[in-house]
Symmetry: C2
Subunit: 434 residues, 2 copies
Amino acid sequence: MEKSIIEVISRPEKKDWKPLLTRPRFNSFKMENKVFNILEQVKTRGNAAVRDFSLEFDKVFLEDCRVTKEEFDEAEKLLGEQAKKSIVTAIKNIERFHRNQIVHEKPIETSPGVKCWQKSVPIQKVGLYIPGGTAPLFSTLLMLGIPAVIVGCERIVVCTPPNIDGKVHPAILYSAKIIGLDKVFKIGGVQAIAAMAYGTETVPAVYKIFGPGNQYVTTAKQLVSREGIAIDMPAGPSEVAVVADETCVPAFVASDLLSQAEHGTDSQVMLITTKEEVVQPILDQLQIQLNSLPRKEIAEKSLQNSKIIIVNSVTEAVDMINEYAPEHLILAIKDAAQFANLVTNAGSVFIGNYSPESAGDYASGTNHTLPTNGYARIYGGVNLDSFLKKVTFQEISEYGLFNIGHAVMEMAAIEDLEGHKRAVKLRLDSINEK
Amino acid sequence: MEKSIIEVISRPEKKDWKPLLTRPRFNSFKMENKVFNILEQVKTRGNAAVRDFSLEFDKVFLEDCRVTKEEFDEAEKLLGEQAKKSIVTAIKNIERFHRNQIVHEKPIETSPGVKCWQKSVPIQKVGLYIPGGTAPLFSTLLMLGIPAVIVGCERIVVCTPPNIDGKVHPAILYSAKIIGLDKVFKIGGVQAIAAMAYGTETVPAVYKIFGPGNQYVTTAKQLVSREGIAIDMPAGPSEVAVVADETCVPAFVASDLLSQAEHGTDSQVMLITTKEEVVQPILDQLQIQLNSLPRKEIAEKSLQNSKIIIVNSVTEAVDMINEYAPEHLILAIKDAAQFANLVTNAGSVFIGNYSPESAGDYASGTNHTLPTNGYARIYGGVNLDSFLKKVTFQEISEYGLFNIGHAVMEMAAIEDLEGHKRAVKLRLDSINEK
């Protein structure tokens, strides 16, 4: 019997969902020693260690890894007009979507004379890691760089691996240039994370590191996060869930599944359908489209981690999605907007037949740095807030302290913190003496 | 020569600031094995392990650790009227401040036919750890519980250590009851973090754990965060910086420094002043107030970790504060509001002579769960967002895809992701065929 392109499971009972929805678990403990050693070397030896590891892993020796003005200019010349135009379209939409997230916090008087407010303040120093390996992810540079520029981070450092000739893809350099990032360093992998975390003679240190990467990069981010460097979110393989019914277009659904499956052999795609009759047409389309896909081998492997699940009702589909918590969710169903309202756990939701995930990956404006691996239960994707922190302020007048002071003193006394109580009492006494 | 109550440093040069502003570093690696063992035991043995560790560490055996309705009722009877009134005042202000943070996200059309929006969704399951050791921190229960209730987290679990009689302080139980939390478990320390992270037969598992604790609790939170449980923020010893000039009231400043110093021997307080002449009056007040402080010994020790620094100008004071990034910042200076505008790195800022830190600790409305240990450079304190995640949505019409589709295809092609390109191409072709 021929092996199926993807496993199909029909109407599983709810008690059996858990194993169906479990992702292959990645164990970062295994590679920790190796990664830790690279981090330590860069921490103590700086540029020299970065050069050594670039030679070892990227097979390239660079005396100076900072991208020069000449290289930016050359990239601009090399990149085609159509590409540039597309990048500008994407930037415009990404910028609009993220600017729309700006919040104007207003002070509130919680009690008369007690004025309190929050203020959003940019994180001063951020680092963006842009993988270059199998694909030059200039789209990720846009997704991370644009919100950092909007909020006004003072220092934005970019690291991206060079190719074997010591070059970076022109689309990455052009994107950096046009959004205004000039601190771009040709460093990849763990050594890049280390350089941004600790700083070197050339690379300035940052407070928070963003960006995807392979398991080594992910482990490096986890390790530096224990030393006080913030990271965007725990990263895992990319994934999509599609919910389809009889209103879907099987060719579209298949193309969406494949566009996720081609990312990497560890990607996972899930199709959940309330209508059994759509399964065969989608399977047929999957096979046809797969045959001509350049990344066929990758997609084929990731389809083996993947599933088509037939459920009994729309309610079950909603429950299953919220339990799975997909990074991307495509709704190719009747009343998709209504379904979307019931979704609590997902990174980014694509509503209707003309909202493919690719649109959000590149140019609709939403961010494509999203929680994988079930983290959508807890985290949202990267947004403007990821580059901000909120500082709280309060300004209390004498009258204000008079209003709340007794509550403060009483509560401090119960917590056995007499010093806290006295800080109020001294002030109330001074008011009374006036 | 008598040892000074606190070190005074006059006009240090900027190049020498770093060691002055460095906190004593806490190394969580040291206690990891011990903590890891407790986590593993609770993970595999559930309630039985929790009972064992409660007996070992809290010297109490509890067959059932869930707080009963009778215990809540008893707490309400035991607590004095003044205390209840104070708690109600605090709740009202905390609720007002946090409700004011609700954001109504509006969809935006990034290109014609491309509608994108964010939606704030509560994290379904959260756990709150409320220490009970030297002080019953019912104020922390309010600070964590109120925003969780406002956003509508479905499951809110509270763990707090019992005393030697197996009881919890009535102020904690009353606070829980009045804000509507009924899942309170008498478990402390690492075993509490483990119970909430993994769940036991009695304690339901959660997705995100909040709350302060000692170094063991902090290490436990760090370790479970590597297994996919989110935590509020890395916690360290509490700290305050006061900026004072000739307009300050030395007795107030001293009381603020002591109210922080009494927290624990590892607390740190810093006084930064532009006016040398205020130092002696503040030192005198420190000595006077310290002598009668119940927690004198604790405060005395933490003053030894602390410093008074005289600087040359207000500008230098601003720079020093932003470099130190204090958890709490009190501004007892002329033009305090103007100074506050220049603060980029601080957890919570208290403006003017009548805004003591105690007010924010208990009842002004702002949250007292704040970034310590310099983390204010990267994180804000707990706020409404800490209990929410943002899900993004997009709904693209045929016309919308027509508008952005070519940009998506071009970009996907550059990234060598043909499948991504096809997901759009198939759709554009189908539109053209119509």
